[in-house]
Symmetry: C2
Subunit: 341 residues, 2 copies
């Protein structure tokens, strides 16, 4: 498969993006990558590196969307941005999927404009993967839609179910609604209404899940609006970092601790691997008509490499085709059930 990589996206681009692309090409077969962005800068990074030249090509884009620019600026004033050119490649069939660690709001807005939504989807959502004690879960929406209606949450649940079935290979994924108490009467106006819709749909809805329980592994898909989802994702990231720092500080305060740390190095490394977002690569924009993967702004080489791998998997497994096939039927069914009640 052919991946269009936004080589200018992310805090450490283009050095890290080019390096991630080379590592991906050297690690996986049946892959080719189009690096999109400033060709001089990209070629300077490629210079002297060891990779099969037939599998990495460069597509020039004269502009870069900055991390703090509003999506409207990207859309109106930067029509030759690396984000836009990469998405155009996917649209024209020149690439199967797009990966960007750049401004996620701009990627979302440009993807909506260039690629459009899957028919039947009201609001595309970001599906982020997070670790649990047993494995992984999908958090949807992790930040695309800050103000949602109950029906949007139902769509996120349906898309999350399709994701978990096809990417995690779970036959009947457990879907939960992120809330502040298990009972259906607990929640805000949005989640109380969404609870009814989810309960009356044919997905395997296990009810509300509280924040403290999302890491137990009891739910495969956790549904929420994009504001709450973004805060959940970022609080988790910030706390994991803070805990690692606090532990290191505690350890370095102690002589025996330093010795203990050496003994523990492997354990801490393995733990960090399990909680490290870079292992999971990227988060797809579910509901967009072609594969479009957002990677973390602070992506490392490994994160870019894994996002490229994930984009390939997402394309091959045909997640978008399943959503296209099922979303309208499932939404119609849910609406019919809701009307009957």
């Amino acid at each position: 498969m052919r991946i269009a990589l936004d080589a200018m996206g992310g805090d450490y681009a283009p050095a890290i993006t080019v390096e991630g692309a080379i590592e991906a090409i050297n690690e996986w077969d049946e892959l080719s990558i189009i690096l999109v962005g400033n060709k001089e800068e990209i070629k300077a990074e490629l210079n002297g590196r060891n990779y099969p030249p037939s599998l990495i090509s460069v597509r020039h884009a004269s502009e870069v969307v900055q991390m703090n620019e509003p999506p409207t600026v990207a859309l109106r004033q930067k029509k030759d941005s690396s984000i836009r050119v990469a998405l155009d490649l996917v649209k024209s069939g020149g690439a199967d999927a797009m990966v960007s660690a750049g401004n996620s709001g701009a990627v979302m807005a440009t993807a909506l404009l260039v690629l459009g939504k899957i028919r039947g989807v009201d609001r595309p959502a970001i599906a982020a993967v997070m670790p649990t004690l047993k494995g992984l879960f999908v958090l949807i929406d992790a930040g695309a839609n800050v103000d949602c209606k109950p029906l949007h949450l139902l769509q996120f649940a349906i898309m999350g179910e399709i994701y978990a079935k096809n990417i995690f290979n779970i036959d009947v994924p457990k879907i939960a609604l992120l809330g502040i108490g298990k009972e259906d009467v607990k929640g805000n106006e949005l989640t109380k209404e969404a609870f009814k819709l989810l309960k009356n749909s044919d997905i395997n809805f296990i009810g509300n899940i509280e924040g403290k329980d999302i890491f137990t592994g009891n739910a495969d898909v956790v549904v929420c609006d994009g504001f709450v989802g973004n805060i959940t994702l970022k609080v988790s990231e910030g706390l994991a970092e803070a805990i690692t720092k606090m532990l290191k500080r505690e350890i370095s305060n102690r002589t025996t601790g330093r010795f203990g740390y050496l003994l523990l190095k492997d354990a801490i490394k393995s733990f960090k691997k399990k909680t490290d977002y870079t292992e999971y690569g990227g988060a797809p924009l579910l509901g967009i008509s072609k594969p479009c993967i957002i990677s973390h702004g602070r992506s490392t080489t490994k994160a870019i490499k894994n996002a490229i791998k994930f984009a390939g998997e997402f394309h091959i497994k045909g997640v978008i085709e399943v959503i296209s096939r099922d979303i309208e039927t499932k939404m119609r069914e849910a609406e019919e059930i809701a009307l009957k009640k």
Copy 2:
């Protein structure tokens, strides 16, 4: 000071509540405690224990509000609950403050009915304390009000500022709004409007703070609605527990790890102390006319002991008196500034 303790509140009551009360009495001077609840059960727990009998008394209450009961049930059907009787004691002047690890929704609703709000406060809020790399911060609202208006968030900010000044002894606390991006244009409808109000008020508003930055210690007070606040609190609690479990699992998988763990025991203990909610005791209902402290449902002896200590500190420092004195003026000022813009 005299603390009315809901002896029946919490998952391990009355064993843990009675034990926490005895430890508090034995540890701090100028304290007396009224244990409120089923007198037979409480006396059975007190039996044979070592404590000054003049400092612990028992007040009978025939009913207990269960953890999953809606607040309306507590209000209408359980008029002799331990929560109600403890709050009646505070109202009548028989106690200076109330502490409960029971059903927090029921405590809030009953406190509103029995003690009422401070004049000028629209919505009392839960002010929870959380750890950072540098110290502590206050999260307000941590769960009392699930659907808020921008003006409520301004009130939470003002009450949080008073809390941080008086309890943390910070002259000019830094107040931030929990959001999804630093820029004022980022957020949902609620936070974008609240941002303007906070910016135009005379509090030391440092802008939006993202989830990943709340643990850095850059903000002393983090303001949000109670739905987002509860999820932030619970996600943090759940993740800290999951990380501890994952680390222990990684360690026990390794022979050298076990040895390392022994060496590290002190470091891990000290780290746990810093991230352990039981150290911070309880969260006050800011905006209620008398001191009313909510403790965690899973409170241990130490958590109850610290909540009692905190209730005393909260009473002595006169936080409620400062809120009563300042809230109306500060809200009027904020409204005048907003009107002028």
